[in-house]
């Protein structure tokens, strides 16, 4: 007997518990009813790989994988897939979007990312085989909390969330603070557009972060920790949940860790979609169940944090560095980087480079090395214009600074910041005023509204930028932006407000001529701003094919077949479709 299809149905316990047998019965019944039972072989097998989404089955020869099945679904699959040959899309297993980490380029050093993509993040033993939790054992059994902090001091590790505060100093403040109860927080509220370094670490090597947190908790004397992760990262949250439970099962979280008498446990807190919660005081408000609005500092969290108790808060990447610093020694870490910025940093390279994605480089590498040696240069070999670092609170760095080393102080000296690791490369086709407007739109939207200069000031700045981009810029607008920027920075409590004007200030600093071209000449040099450009058909080149006129969504193009076509600038909405469809490149932007 030759079967035309084979159905493998999972009989593993998780699937059985959720009704795999009923599903199989319904499947067989329907096969008989439709008289195709002798064409299809049904085999009960062990796991098919996604028992958590069971009951599940796979149909060959296509290899179609169905999950979360009910008996009704099974009957539907028989009718649609096995009888009519139409896979039932809504029941198919969805592969999460995969993003393999490519092999490192020669300029990269992987410390934080050393296990990402190599170990199974849902199997703690994979991590332990790669020397995982060795540093924790060492810290708890051979070192005093003071010695742990001293090792961090030797390493020179600074906060990887953006500001670059020395980690050892933060820890020693929390250690010395008075209070029986102390808390430890991991800030996983990574929200900068285009920055996804922390997500990859959480999804690929969650135990490194957990181990770093337990060591930190030991150093400052905290018994309870919170892992704050944004709700936009469901896979990271799932991986972390599995990892925390496994660490508990292995006695690496909970009571009396490594029989040292030290207790520490971790809870996950999910955000609910508010960028400002990445700011440490806002984040703590959110953990307490409040609106995530920043508060004044001092008192700093090390003195008065969660529920008024001393609290240490670091970013995902900061904690992920800690186990290796303890295991290999602070001197090893300090051997990488520059005098004041030690170790490595992850960056998410995006924008107009040939190779985008996640990288990890020793601090002190030049911007040029990142853009050209690792990023492969500018896409389509266009001209480099600027690189934006530090996300919405960062700035744009122009070509003349490409040979500067990447470290906290140097980036600040040219009007940008290190930030959490966003790295957006821009080419000659990018309008710097438009970029400034884009980031201002973002911060204006994300301002929590507590401080008036931020709430109102960012809106006024955005209005001015909107006007400039629409061709309604007035003389004095640049100066008005600079004045407002000063007020917003000086009058805001948190990093969001203080940093919000940065993209505007840095583009004015380095690309003032572009602002002036928009305002005085009513021209957008990069030909981006719709209010300042015009689409024109070159009469000599036009062959009268009518394609542009037929595709124009607003019927702004007139002309008879085989005759030159003309665009009415009044009706034109500058969508650019005519330029895309023209077979002879007769449409130009002026």
């Amino acid at each position: 007997m030759v079967y035309r299809a084979h159905v493998l149905i999972s009989g593993e316990p998780r699937c059985l518990a959720k009704g795999a047998q009923e599903v199989e019965r319904a499947l067989l019944t329907r096969l008989h009813e439709l008289r195709i039972a002798d064409e299809v072989q049904v085999v009960e097998v062990g796991s098919l790989g996604h028992g958590e989404q069971g009951p599940e089955l796979v149909i060959y020869p296509e290899g179609t994988h169905y999950v979360n099945l009910t008996p009704e679904d099974a009957a539907l699959i028989v009718e649609e897939h096995l009888l009519k040959g139409r896979p039932v899309e809504k029941l198919r297993y969805q592969e999460p979007p995969s993003e393999p980490l490519p092999p490192p380029s020669p300029k990269e050093i992987r410390v934080v990312l050393k296990n990402v993509g190599k170990i199974d993040p849902e199997n703690i033993e994979d991590y332990i085989i790669c020397d995982g939790y060795e540093a924790l054992a060492q810290a708890l059994t051979e070192m005093t909390p003071e010695e742990v902090i001293a090792e961090l001091q030797v390493s020179g590790l600074r906060g990887r969330g953006g500001a670059g505060f020395p980690t050892w100093l933060k820890w020693s403040f929390a250690r010395k603070a008075d209070g029986d109860k102390k808390y430890l927080i991991c800030n996983g509220d990574e929200g900068d557009p285009g920055a996804f370094m922390n997500r990859r670490v959480l999804e690929g090597d969650p135990h490194a972060v957990i181990e770093g947190m337990v060591i930190a908790a030991y150093a400052i004397g905290a018994q309870q920790g919170y892992f704050y992760v944004r709700a936009e990262y469901p896979i990271a949250i799932h991986t972390l949940r599995v990892a925390i439970q496994q660490a508990r099962d292995y006695g690496l979280l909970g009571k009396d860790i490594f029989s040292s008498g030290f207790d520490f446990d971790l809870e996950i807190r999910m955000g609910a979609g508010a960028f400002v919660c990445g700011e440490e005081t806002a984040l703590m408000q959110s953990i307490e169940g409040e609106r995530g609005m920043p508060r004044t500092r001092p008192p700093f969290p090390a003195v008065s944090g969660l529920w008024g108790c001393p609290t240490n808060i670091n970013n995902v990447e900061t904690y992920a560095n800690v186990p290796q610093i303890i295991r290999k020694g602070g001197a090893w870490f300090a051997s990488m980087g520059t005098e004041k910025s030690k170790g490595t940093k992850t960056f998410a390279i995006a924008g107009k480079v040939k190779r985008t994605g996640l990288i990890e480089v020793p601090l002190g590498i030049t911007l040029r090395e990142i853009v050209y040696d690792i990023g492969g240069g500018i896409l389509n070999d266009k001209k480099f214009k600027a690189v934006q670092t530090g996300g919405p609170m960062g700035g744009c760095i122009p070509e003349q600074y490409l040979d500067l080393p990447v470290d906290y102080e140097t980036l600040a000296s040219v009007g940008s910041i290190m930030g959490s690791g966003g790295f957006v490369v821009m080419d000659e086709d990018t309008c710097m005023v438009d970029i400034a407007r884009f980031f201002m739109e973002f911060t204006q939207d994300e301002s929590c509204g507590k401080c008036t200069p931020c709430r109102v000031g960012t809106r006024r700045m955005l209005e001015i930028l909107d006007n400039i981009c629409e061709g309604k810029g007035q003389p004095g607008d640049i100066e008005r932006l600079e004045t407002l920027a000063g007020y917003v920075t000086a009058g805001s409590l948190c990093g969001l407000g203080q940093g919000a004007p940065n993209p505007v200030l840095s583009t004015i600093q380095h690309f003032r001529d572009e602002y002036e071209a928009h305002i005085y000449d009513k021209k957008c040099p990069a030909k981006v701003c719709k209010g300042l450009i015009e689409y024109i058909i070159d009469a000599d080149a036009c062959i009268g094919c009518t394609r542009c006129a037929r595709n124009c969504p607003v019927n702004a193009i007139t002309g008879k077949p085989k005759e030159v076509h003309v665009i009415d600038p009044e009706a034109c909405i500058r969508c650019g479709i005519c330029k895309q469809v023209c077979p002879v490149e007769a449409v130009h932007v002026e």
Binding site: E89, K90, R92, Q94, P96, P97, S98, E99, E190, G191, D192, P193, G194, A195, F196, R199, A231, E232, Y233, P234, I235, R269, M270, G271, A272, G273, A274, F275, S286, I287, E288, G289, E290, R291, G292, M293, A348, A350, G351, K352, T356, G357, L358, V424, F438, F442, E446, C448
Partner: protein, 156 residues
């Protein structure tokens, strides 16, 4: 779908009635039911022994807690720079066209709500969107009708 009392009780039982659980309770309820009615907010306030205004102030602060009616499935489309550069605008238009609504709106049959979201951190596979809790990357306008059909049994 609106929240019902049983749902509220279950979620509160899961998270407890501490003040600190408020954000999680509201987010979970909003995800389960699509959005929170004024009555649901009042019930949560009574259960947690908080002023209703305080609960509303927290609910209205976070973008993932919905206080306005929305469809059975919520699409959150990333509108940030890396997705924009990767061709997000065309996908955005395809979504609006396929569903016949603009961003921020709900279809008349209450099947779909279309919302923009800030960065989902999946910039390497942009453009990206989330439907309920499922993530879709490397989107093109052509893929949109097929993906939507998975949720409606083929008649999107």
């Amino acid at each position: 779908m609106e929240t019902n009392l049983t749902q509220i009780h279950e979620v509160i039982e899961h998270h407890g009635t501490n003040r600190e659980a408020l954000v999680e309770i509201l987010r979970d309820l909003s995800q389960q039911a699509g959005y929170l009615t004024p009555e649901a907010l009042e019930t949560v306030a009574a259960q947690l022994n908080l002023p209703a205004g305080e609960v509303h102030s927290v609910a209205s602060f976070y973008s993932m807690i919905n206080t306005r009616p929305c469809g059975e499935h919520v699409i959150r489309f990333c509108e940030d720079a890396p997705c924009h550069v990767a061709g997000g605008r065309a996908v955005w238009q395809a979504l609006e066209q396929t569903l016949g609504i603009k961003f921020g709106e709900t279809t008349p049959d209450n099947q779909w709500t279309l919302l923009p979201t800030s960065c989902l951190g999946l910039c390497a596979v942009g453009p990206v969107m989330m439907i309920d809790n499922d993530v879709y990357g490397n989107l093109t306008p052509e893929k949109i009708p097929e993906i939507l059909a998975r949720y409606t049994g083929g008649d999107a």
